[in-house]
């Protein structure tokens, strides 16, 4: 059974034996061409592009949080006890998630032209589904008892939200926000490949010009930023939650 599956898969991907045999040699060749790393290139172009990437990720996450909160509320059945409204909200969240951020980026590059704005919006629109879904679920898991007590005291809707629900979902909210920011730092690094700003654009031009020593510097920079983001998220989470 498994053998059949493997054979079928290999036939489908159409492995070319010559290329496969050649691969180790090619990798070695590529690594040689990347060496020595062109560090002089970093302050020139890479640094600014890297900062732009982080800005795209942060601003995109922020925008997503603002846009996702109302949709998350509409999706939570205990807050909006109307199944049609919940379904429409969930449809919005699913459509946001079903489109890859690169596809969102292509779309926004088409509308706003190439640059960081398209990248920011792509990150935001891809994140709405993720943030909204998890935030809505956190709201649905909130204890109904305290909310009932506030209702019994005559508290209006807005006060029930801020005094009853918000303290209960606050840890989940910040946890979701940090996690999504971490993902977005990684995602925004590739958006430049389709012209949506950031370090991906530098990577794209270096690749097209076969400047392998520069490609290596860019890859190293992305790697470093992803690790830094990971450390920052872990530290902030430990301190806050």
């Amino acid at each position: 059974m498994i053998v059949v599956a493997i054979v079928l898969s290999i036939q489908t991907v159409e492995v070319i034996p010559e290329f496969l045999a050649d691969a180790p040699e090619q990798v070695a060749d590529l690594l040689t061409r990347m060496w020595p790393l062109d560090f002089a290139y970093y302050p020139d172009t890479v640094h600014a592009a890297l900062m732009e990437t982080i800005h795209i990720a942060s601003l995109g996450t922020l925008l997503a949080l603002v846009l996702a909160m109302p949709v998350g509320i509409l999706a939570a059945h205990n807050l909006v006890p109307s199944t049609p409204v919940n379904l429409v909200a969930k449809l919005i969240l699913v459509s946001s998630r079903s489109v890859n951020s690169l596809v969102w980026a292509l779309l926004f590059v088409g509308i706003f032209g190439p640059g960081a704005l398209a990248g920011t919006l792509a990150i935001a629109f891809r994140s709405i589904g993720f943030v909204g879904k998890l935030f809505g679920e956190a709201l649905e898991e909130a204890q109904p008892g305290p909310i009932e007590a506030l209702s019994a005291a005559g508290a209006p809707w807005a006060s029930r939200m801020t005094f009853g629900y918000w303290p209960q979902v606050k840890p989940a909210f910040w946890s979701i926000a940090l996690f999504r920011w971490d993902i977005n730092v990684r995602e925004s690094a590739v958006l430049g490949l389709v012209g949506a700003g950031g370090i991906g654009m530098a990577l794209d031009s270096a690749l097209n010009l076969f400047q392998w020593t520069r490609v290596a510097v860019i890859l190293l920079a992305i790697f470093a930023v992803v690790i830094i983001a990971e450390v920052v998220v872990t530290q902030v989470r430990r301190r806050m939650i």
Binding site: P146, A152, A153, G154
Partner: protein
């Protein structure tokens, strides 16, 4: 004060939980509603402030029929009815002080409440009430750091913060040990006395009810079967309310 007229409630059509309850609560002091589990005590008390929607009947309170109110008018009526819950229903991640002030949410705008800009008068009263319920010095503790008895004291103080003219308590002692239960009942009886308001308590512990209630209402099968002072509650009546006899010593 409070008058229920032919109040009925069915969660499922055709199987009523409350059957045609007519009841008046006007005197200050503690009125205990006793009865077996599942006999509709909680439903009755929750119908009064419409946490549960009655199926039929009137709830006359301060000149209005609560059963017909909606939205803002219902919220305004609820401000005058304090409620204490079996599971305390505090917002666990907020401080004791914030939980007390949440009793004022019917009076303070959401925007002011969000910025924690409560009137100084409310804050002063909250500190006073912490004293009354024996939690002076606990204001800045988080509610989830308290024991069950302490949480129920916060729950009572929150209800009193509303300046209620009627206090409802839904099984306030059922999650507590016997000693703490007595302390909580003493506190509720004291509030009924000092504030001169009726306190309607729902409980299944007969001895506790006899000890603290000025008036006892017995329920069985969703209907009222007894209404009178504790002294009139004899074994025959208890058999009617709870059924069986083996448990009465």
């Amino acid at each position: 004060m409070l008058k229920l007229n032919h109040l009925s409630k069915s969660y499922v059509a055709g199987t009523p939980v409350l059957r045609d309850i007519t009841l008046e609560v006007s005197e200050r002091g503690v009125t205990a509603i006793i009865g077996a589990s599942g006999t509709g005590k909680s439903t009755l008390i929750r119908c009064i402030n419409r946490l549960v929607e009655p199926t039929a009947g009137e709830i006359l309170f301060e000149g209005a029929d609560l059963a017909t109110l909606n939205g803002r008018s219902l919220r305004h009526a609820r401000r005058h009815i304090g409620m204490v819950f079996q599971e305390y229903n505090l917002v666990e991640r907020l401080t004791v002080m914030e939980n007390l002030l949440s009793g004022r949410l019917g009076y303070v705008s959401a925007w002011r409440a969000w910025r924690r800009k409560f009137p100084p008068e409310d804050i002063r009263r909250a500190y006073e009430l912490l004293d009354v319920v024996g939690l002076a010095g606990f204001a800045l503790q988080r509610a989830d750091a308290l024991s069950g008895g302490q949480r129920q004291r916060v729950g009572i103080a929150r209800a009193v913060m509303q300046e209620p003219t009627l206090l409802l308590a839904d099984e306030p002692t059922s999650s507590l040990d016997p000693k703490t239960a007595v302390e909580i009942m003493e506190l509720l009886a004291g509030i009924a006395r000092s504030r001169g308001i009726p306190v309607l308590v729902n409980m299944h512990d007969v001895e506790l009810a006899k000890r603290f209630a000025d008036r006892i209402i017995g329920m069985a099968g969703g209907a009222l079967v007894f209404d009178g002072p504790a002294a009139e509650l004899d074994d025959a009546m208890l058999t009617t309310i709870y059924g069986g006899q083996g448990w009465i010593q």
